[in-house]
Amino acid sequence: MRSEPIIKVENVYYRYPPNIWALKGVSLNIYKQEFIALLGQNGSGKTTLAKHLNGLLVPTRGRVLVKGIDTRKLSVAKIARIVGYVFQNPEHQIFAKNIYEEIAFGLRNIGVPEEEIEDRVREALEEVDLRKPLDTNPHFLSTGEKHRLAIASVLAMKPEVIILDEPTTGLDYKRIKQLMEIIYNLYKKGHTIILITHDMALAAEYCERAIILHNGRILVDAPAREVFSNIELLAQSSLKPPQITLLSIELNRRGYPIPRDILTVKEMADKITSLLKTY
């Protein structure tokens, strides 16, 4: 039996004024230690849904429960201790005069005593591998470092759920890999990660559950392997499987002993080398 969900989304509708329904009846549960990909085109409702999970938005109809409490009855500061949100562009999030203040801001807001703050700041910076003097001005950091600082400032609040809204935009592959390793470690330590992304190969490599939103509704919510190997389903939302999955599908169709739902390069290499032992 699975434990109680951390977040329950119950038949949520959301209307932006004057009359645009961004969410039209979304229901889902989010549990401890999940790695979820939230996919969909721009305008599909991904960010609107994500903002419901941490109380930045409350439903027009339906309800969202965080730890069993309706988000309408919780302050954003209270929810921030449970659900952290890292924005797409770190420039939109970073505002303080130095690294220390940037991270301490959130901690003070949620009432962490001043004597505890420095330890939590250091811990969070270590977690994201950002080794800079605490008085460094964040605006002089590189883009990759700003991303890590933005994550650290959310992490310091020790939220059980961390939402990352397209964290890899504008990063090169090396930095994307580094960032994903950091995020994956957080998942291994028991956090739930919700990754909003357009990068199918990346989502397929790390996520275990995939949710596709389409026109404000959930098109699918299933294990990642099922979702990423389903060409027809993805096409409904103008998405494509990763290239390596397309290769596995085609090899499988031609009758080779390769499963049709391979998600990573390493998996495919393992499969091919394992054939050496069979034949």
Partner: protein, 298 residues
């Protein structure tokens, strides 16, 4: 006789006023008219700086120490203004929001030609033409804010095209778009190259796309060009690809991984169709017990 080039960059060094060190360190690049070149490399490798030198933004707007020379369509950028160069080299950037300056599609498209002081009927003719290329027909009077990200970026490209450049420099123009927007803009770029013969110099991280459409891939790191060649040449060199930590197409990465494990992959595939052939044959050989290990197998 000198060969005719769209772009010639000769031993180019550049250092911004605020930067400690040179950002470009002896770059040499020649691009032929009609060529489709994709520049790749990690953040901070100097690729955007190189792009800025191609239409004179460097050194005319962003100042610094500039050594070497850049010639576009025979014009030395040091001797011509940015507005003159803009009719030869169009440049489009990453963020569609940041480069749209007017309220409606038609105003945006007429902005450049009006500034060139072109006659009214010429401006109208050009707008009709670029609206078609950007697939914005029927949306001429729409407010620019109502366009999708992909449409905004198509509009940004179209407004540059209205100046009739023969060279288009694109700095990660799809990196902020969703898959539908990315497709719209990518198709437009390929069409401009294949059908209209524009020279394209695109900075892009999307390897699968570059592998399929580029005539040549240029790899930069630390202000220098580390390697260049046809996509199949570049991606067949795992050492180069790994050295600067960039992502090759997944089907090429599979080949690198298998080679590491001692399997022989003679031709490294870069597209899905090539990969299906290559790996079908490889698996056939394995299943018949005919596979040969590489000499350097550990």
């Amino acid at each position: 006789m000198k060969e005719n080039y769209a772009v010639v960059v000769e031993d180019l060094w550049f250092k911004y006023v605020a930067s400690k060190d040179y950002v470009l360190r002896g770059v040499n690049l020649k691009v032929k008219p009609g060529e489709f070149v994709v520049i790749m490399g990690p953040s901070g490798c100097g690729k955007s700086t190189l792009a800025y030198t191609l239409n004179g933004i460097i050194p005319h707007v962003f100042k610094g120490e500039f050594k070497g020379k850049v010639i576009v369509n025979g014009l030395n950028t040091l001797e011509h203004t940015v507005s003159e160069l803009a009719t030869h080299v169009g440049m489009v950037f990453q963020n569609p929001e940041a480069q749209i300056v007017t309220m409606t599609v038609i105003e945006e498209l007429s902005f450049g030609p009006e500034n060139l002081g072109l006659p009214r009927d010429e401006i109208e003719r050009r707008i009709r033409e670029v609206v078609k290329v950007a697939r914005l027909e029927g949306k001429e009077y729409r407010p620019t804010v109502s366009l999708s990200g992909g449409e905004k970026q198509a509009l940004a490209i179209a407004s540059v095209l209205a100046l009739r450049p023969s060279i288009l420099v694109l700095d990660e123009v799809t990196s902020m778009l969703d898959p539908i927007g990315t497709e719209l803009v990518s198709e437009m770029v390929v069409k401009l190259n294949k059908e209209y013969g524009l020279t394209i110099i695109a900075i892009d991280h999307r390897v699968e796309w570059a592998a399929e459409y580029a005539d040549r891939i240029v790899i930069m790191d630390e202000g220098q060009i580390l390697g260049e060649g046809k996509p199949e040449e570049v991606f067949s060199s795992p050492d180069l690809v790994r050295k600067i930590g960039f992502r090759a197409p997944q089907v090429s990465e599979l080949a690198y991984e298998l080679i590491d494990r001692g399997l022989s992959v003679k031709k490294i595939p870069i597209s899905l169709s090539e990969a299906v052939e290559t790996y079908s044959k490889l698996i056939d050989m394995i299943m018949k017990g005919e596979w040969r290990p590489l000499k350097n197998e550990k």
